[in-house]
């Protein structure tokens, strides 16, 4: 008898239900326990002790499980995957202990389910319960379980081909299977280069450079006013020599990439400044300049290509005017300033990148 096997199964059933089903085990067990207690109350019991109630709950659960298992196997024997009422009736007969086997079992002639004793008993039971009109329904409301893990744990449920609306690649793949992942997840497909944010970034960069240029220009104007009142051509000559000397010293240290990368934008930014420098003259301004933008000066080599001629001419002019001693002094001065700027460059590589 299949019922005889169940004495120790109750305890063992709890262990295999680890992982996902252990979460629902306690809940379903508690729910079935309260349902069984309600049935006992309907029968006539006022109270019950816990161990017999637990045992009875276990038996009820095992009854359902065995019914399902037998019904499924009967359906599978007949080549079906879904069960019908005859499978359940056969399973009921299988689980019951009928003493009058010969007379009242399912006969082969009629093949009717109602020949089954068990089913008739159940029908009578339902009629009785209906007639009594007691509150037989489950008192508490059960939430819909098992709770889907989609929202709780964030598991991705892969939709099937049918749900997506795709045709599977190949006739051998049925539609109800999960769909294949999108090709961009495992292959390199051409990308749409999104440049949405770049114009804004470019504008910001341009505005910043313009502001710096304006600041330099203002200070230049200030110096011009001072210098023009005191000196004259001397200012212009000093500036050029200093600039050229320091360019040579700086360029050896500064990388090529920075020069080439921002060359064009720097040219645009400093065009007004350089034009002003061409027109006027400044000596100490270049030191300030360099403190703010040491790398920019290194790019003046490219700038020279564009503005070229005027700077060279002034250089020639300078060579004629100055005395040797003065030039050497200026060179030392410029060299010291260049070294200072180089040290600053090394200390603050971030500033370089910002440009």
């Amino acid at each position: 008898m299949s019922l005889e096997r169940r004495t120790h199964d109750e305890g063992e059933r709890k262990d295999p239900s680890s992982s996902s089903s252990s979460d629902s085990y306690e809940f379903t067990h508690a729910a079935s326990k309260s349902a069984v207690a309600q049935i006992c109350e309907t029968v006539g019991y006022n109270h019950s002790k816990d161990p017999p109630l637990e045992s009875l709950t276990g038996f009820a659960i095992q009854y359902i499980l065995q019914l399902g298992k037998s019904a499924t196997s009967f359906a599978n024997l007949n080549g079906r995957s879904q069960c019908n009422v005859f499978d359940i009736v056969l399973a009921l007969e299988d689980l019951s202990c009928n003493n009058n086997v010969d007379e009242e079992r399912v006969s082969l002639d009629s093949c009717s389910a109602l020949r089954s004793v068990k089913l008739r008993e159940i029908i009578n039971f339902v009629k009785l319960s209906d007639e009594e009109e007691e509150e037989g329904a489950f008192i508490q409301t059960l939430p819909r379980f098992p709770v889907s893990d989609n929202k709780v744990k964030g598991k991705m449920v892969v939709p099937s081909f049918v749900e997506i609306g795709e045709t599977p690649p190949g006739k051998h793949i049925p539609l109800w299977l999960p769909a294949f992942p999108d090709p961009h997840t495992y292959k390199e497909t051409p990308m749409w280069v999104e440049r949405g944010l770049d114009p804004r970034g470019d504008k910001i960069e341009q505005a910043r450079q313009r502001r710096k240029a304006e600041r330099a220009l203002l200070s230049l104007q200030r110096k011009l006013v001072c210098r023009i009142s005191s000196g004259g051509d001397r200012v212009w000559g000093d500036m050029d020599g200093g600039v050229k000397g320091e360019i040579r010293e700086d360029e050896s240290e500064v990388t090529e990439e920075e020069r080439n990368g921002d060359g064009l934008s720097v040219v645009e930014a400093f065009a007004p400044v350089l034009e002003a420098a061409r027109d006027g003259g400044f000596s100490e301004v270049d030191a300030e300049w360099k403190e703010k933008k040491p790398v920019a000066l290194s790019k003046l080599r490219t700038v020279k290509k564009f503005l070229g001629e005027p700077l060279d001419l002034t250089l020639q002019m300078k060579g004629e005017d100055r005395a040797m001693s003065l030039r050497e002094e200026d060179r030392d001065d410029k060299r010291r300033r260049a070294e200072f700027i180089l040290r600053q460059c090394m200390e603050n590589p971030v500033d370089l990148n910002q440009l």
Binding site: N46, H47, K49, P52, A60, G68, V85, C111
Partner: protein
């Protein structure tokens, strides 16, 4: 031929009764909720979209539990009443489901349930000191 016709008619009647019964199942709500039964049936591989079949299983289980409980109740009522001190006190005022009654009831179904009366520390607890040495 006659037998065949009769059996055919009986079959139709039976089928009609069966469909009527299944329809009546929808009116009657079993004590065990549908969701719970569906969960356990799914666990055992039972696949059916029809609610009536699930209700049939629920009703069958309810009948099984009710049968066992009523048998236990019979055993409980059949037990000799305790000494009645107060004349107002009745015999069956407290109907409690105990393990004794349940095991007696289940024995008829072929299930052996034995509840230990107490739990001991070791197998030799409570034995005579003479036999314990052995």
């Amino acid at each position: 031929m006659n037998q065949g016709q009769q059996s055919g008619e009986a079959k139709h009647e039976d089928d009609a009764a069966l469909t009527e019964f299944l329809a009546s199942l929808m009116d009657y709500t079993p004590t065990i909720p549908d969701d719970l039964v569906e969960h356990y049936l799914a666990k055992s591989g039972f696949q059916c979209p029809d609610v009536r079949l699930i209700r049939l299983v629920a009703v069958a289980t309810q009948k099984f539990v009710a049968d066992v409980a009523s048998d236990a109740l019979q055993h409980c009522k059949a037990r000799p009443a305790p000494v009645v001190k107060d004349k107002k006190q009745q015999k069956d005022k407290r109907l409690v489901l105990t393990m004794e009654d349940l095991s007696k009831a289940l024995r008829e179904y072929g299930v052996n349930v034995k509840h230990p009366e107490y739990f001991a520390d070791s197998p030799s607890t409570g034995m005579d000191p003479a036999t314990r040495d052995e």
